[in-house]
Symmetry: C2
Subunit: 148 residues, 2 copies
Amino acid sequence: MLAESRSSRRPLAQELVSRGVRMTHQRRVLVEIIQGADSHLDAVELWQRARAKDPTINKVTVYRTLAMLKKHGLVDELDLMHLEGEKHYYEAKTTRDHIHLACLKCGRIQEFESSLFERLKGQIERERRFRIQVARLEAGGYCDRCQP
Amino acid sequence: MLAESRSSRRPLAQELVSRGVRMTHQRRVLVEIIQGADSHLDAVELWQRARAKDPTINKVTVYRTLAMLKKHGLVDELDLMHLEGEKHYYEAKTTRDHIHLACLKCGRIQEFESSLFERLKGQIERERRFRIQVARLEAGGYCDRCQP
DNA sequence: GTACTTGCAAAGATTTTGCTTCCAA
DNA sequence: TTGGAAGCAAAATCTTTGCAAGTAC
């Protein structure tokens, strides 16, 4: 599940404080991992990395923190075409939406940005008067390395 | 989770037979429900409708049949932004991919087709040499009826 | 007849809830 | 100090697996 590292506008911890969210030690550890991650993490992977920094962190706290971040629109939740089980993956929200391409053979996840995607979202908002909060485009298929 | 009824190229049962899939009574009941459904069904809803026609049908058979249909690329699996729980929804694959718009307030699901979506997929295939098997675009937001 | 499918029960994976204790502001 | 957050245990939800019995071809 590798992906390029990416950076958000400003530190999540800082963003949360400015929104009046109580900044606990656990939350600080968790958002630092999410922001520094070189891949898309699921809840359990995030929990394991967090325990390396603070062995007392509970899995439930991970779920609750992810829910809180999602509620604030600071992370995106991905399914990555359910390549391995039904868990979800998380990434810090970036300035621009991107598409996830999941290779059904090797499992590699690529990211893709396109102005067509932005135009498509604009078209939906105009033609349906639908105010998009979150858009998720995932494609499953065969990557360039996995073709005959 | 209402959506317009839609029809596929040819009956799923017929399609399966032509692919050499053993056509059991249970499978026939299930694919007929999927094809005639006026909404996106999850596994349990599908099971309940199937039991009305044949009370002996087991939930496990529903999951196994859905997995088989998915493997053959005859149904699409949707998450519908996880509006209610983490279950999946299924629909018979149609000739043209469409986008699902999930209202975060009223829960209504709208479908949207666009040539921009087709162009975007084409761009991905060309620029990344990625052979798309299935593409899923879901957006969460507020529909025209749910805006101030 | 044989290989594939089903039903049943049980387990597995992921996520949520209730409640008490703790801690950030 | 006090309301929100964390930890723990238990439950809930959704899906899969093992195996014996049944059935389509």
